[in-house]
């Protein structure tokens, strides 16, 4: 298992994909965090200046800004995880992989662990962007970035954990849908289109909201505990939400179910 993990690590660091994705993540999260910090920072000041208007509590701002790491960035580890598997099918590198380690389950387990760690690193990269740009912009608008607060750093830890789990789920998706194009399309269509609609739809009635909180995106937001989508977006209306640790367990469950399904299907198939 240790040897398989070293091999999987080398696979990731010897091609350029990881740092290309990390760079885009850095720019995308940094931009979004800066924009939100500026917008809500200024908006909060305006609302505070007009008595009677609904208030935007200033202490909620840092969490909203920093959680852009997961709110807009979670597709990055998800896609990275899917590519780590589908690339093996696409370039037929499963052949040398299974020749070197014929116990196929060991290979998949090593991949899950190593890609999970890579996802955590994406989380750190995203936090560097969201805090590095978000905190100074909050300060510019006269708000507190709360960088000294332990709550902020607990949030950061949950964000890193969420990013790691999204990467692991990506491995599960890739092993279930080994066709690279198909799995990327499914990931993008589900995260950008299907799930937002489902989250909105399920939030209408109480009983559907009970189901909606188990959607992967909702569970991920519960784990992180803050997201500008849940604070202001579609889900806000009637949505209920799990405890942070329950959200984490739901993501773990998705990862396990998808990976086991992949292990039982594409991973067992003939390599020709």
């Amino acid at each position: 298992m240790i040897a398989a993990m070293r091999s999987e690590t080398l696979k990731l660091v010897t091609v350029r994909l990881w740092w290309i994705l990390a760079l885009i993540l850095l720019g995308y999260v940094g931009f979004t965090a800066g924009l939100l910090a500026g917008l809500f920072g200024a908006l909060g000041n305006q609302l505070a200046a007009s008595p009677g208007a609904p208030q935007l509590p200033p202490e909620s701002l840092p969490a909203i800004v920093y959680s852009t790491t997961t709110a807009v960035g979670y597709v990055f580890p998800l896609i990275f995880g899917a590519l780590a598997v589908t690339g093996e099918f696409r370039y037929q590198t499963l052949t040398p992989t299974f020749l070197a380690e014929p116990r196929r389950g060991v290979v998949l387990a090593a991949k899950l662990v190593v890609v999970g760690v890579a996802g955590a690193i994406f989380g750190v990269v995203g936090l560097v962007a969201s805090m590095g740009i978000g905190a100074p912009v909050l300060a510019l608008t006269g708000n507190d970035g709360a960088l000294g607060s332990s709550e902020t750093w607990l949030l950061a830890v949950r964000i890193v954990l969420a990013m790691a789990l999204w990467a692991v789920i990506g491995v599960g998706v890739g092993s279930l849908i080994p066709n690279q194009i198909a799995s990327i399309i499914v990931v993008l269509a589900f995260t950008q289109f299907v799930e937002p609609i489902l989250r909105f739809g399920t939030s209408i009635w109480d009983w559907t909201a009970q189901i909606g909180q188990f959607l992967p995106g909702s569970a991920g937001d519960s784990l992180v505990g803050a997201s500008f989508f849940t604070s202001f977006g579609a889900g806000a209306a009637g949505a209920v939400s799990l405890e942070w640790w329950q959200g984490g367990l739901v993501l773990v469950a998705y990862a396990i179910v998808l990976s086991l399904a992949g292990l039982a299907t594409s991973w067992r198939r003939d390599v020709t």
Partner: protein, 313 residues
């Protein structure tokens, strides 16, 4: 050296169907260490499928393929026991040759120094740090061989290793395989062309449409092919030979028997009490004997050749 000693490879009634396509049917043969064994057959004969079953990459429909009794997946150090180069080039185009080998050396706990050693051995020293996406076919083939050699294995399984190599490379490969066999290793090398391997193999196994049609020495392949035979009572001779298992065609006033050696033809005639007026084993070329065996070729391009020689006779 004892560590060089390869194990034998045994195929036992191995069969593989891909849906309706029967790729390999009921194939049994053994590959011994110390010699180079050629595994021959036309395109689509089932060579690659057979080798992939041996390596645990394709699950046989029935039957087994083992290394001295052990399935590939049960070998304690597979890459250090069996070295494999399969025809499909399995590389990530964005990875350098050196990193490609490092990835799998790590998985098999093989020391990193081996990577440089095998890259030098196959002549990729100067291109080792280029991305494989820019490699020529011959360079990929060499990298595939480097992967096979990384664990210094006692058994080599190579699928069409000379494909894409230049003449210099082909000659080098011949000498290389012979030298490995002389050290006591097991060498199994596939090809769809007899001429490509005839200078380097000692034994051949020939398959066509997934079934074995010949297993033995190259010399045996050449001599046992056709016997010209005649007698006063030709119809009786034909019946006797057919009863003995030969295929018989009339040709220029005599009979041409295939499937029996000259000795067996003579014995069959004697047993039937027929006086022979001619008994002449034909020394057809190796290539012709091979094409005769794989005869009804599913590949239309390859089919032209045996049909043409048939008519020329």
């Amino acid at each position: 050296m004892d560590t060089m000693r390869g194990t034998s490879i045994e195929f036992q009634s191995i069969t593989k169907s891909f849906g309706a396509v029967k790729a390999v049917s009921n194939l049994s043969f053994t590959v011994e260490p110390g010699v180079v064994t050629g595994f021959l057959g036309p395109n689509g004969a089932g060579k690659t499928t057979t080798l992939r079953m041996l390596l645990g990459l394709v699950r046989p429909t029935s039957g087994t393929a083992t290394f001295a009794g052990a399935a590939y997946r049960d070998l304690p150090n597979p890459l250090s026991t069996v070295g494999t180069a399969l025809e499909a080039s399995s590389f990530h185009p964005g990875r350098t040759a050196r990193n490609h080998l490092r990835v799998y050396a790590a998985a098999a706990s093989i020391p990193r120094e081996r990577v440089g050693t095998v890259l030098d051995l196959v002549g990729l020293h100067d291109d080792a740090d280029r991305r494989v996406g820019g490699y020529s076919l011959g360079m990929r083939q060499r990298l595939g061989l480097a992967f096979a050699l990384i664990g210094d294995p006692g058994v080599l399984v190579l699928d069409e290793p000379t494909n894409g190599l230049d003449p210099e490379g082909i000659r080098w490969m011949r000498g290389f395989l012979r030298a490995r066999a002389a050290e006591g290793r097991t060498v199994l090398v596939s090809s769809h062309q007899l001429s490509e391997v005839q200078q380097s193999v000692d034994r051949v196994v020939i398959i066509t449409r997934g079934e074995a049609v010949y297993e033995g020495s190259l010399a045996g392949l050449e001599s046992g092919a056709r016997v010209r035979v005649s007698a006063v009572d030709q119809p009786a001779l034909a019946l006797a030979l057919i009863a003995a298992g030969a295929e018989v065609h009339p040709d220029a006033g005599v009979l041409v028997a295939t499937g029996l050696t000259a000795d067996e033809v003579g014995a069959a005639a004697l047993a039937a009490g027929i006086v022979l007026s001619l008994l002449a084993p034909e020394h057809v070329g190796l290539e012709e004997a091979f094409l005769g065996l794989v005869g009804a070729d599913p590949d239309p391009a390859a089919q032209v050749v045996p049909t043409a020689t048939e008519e020329a006779r």
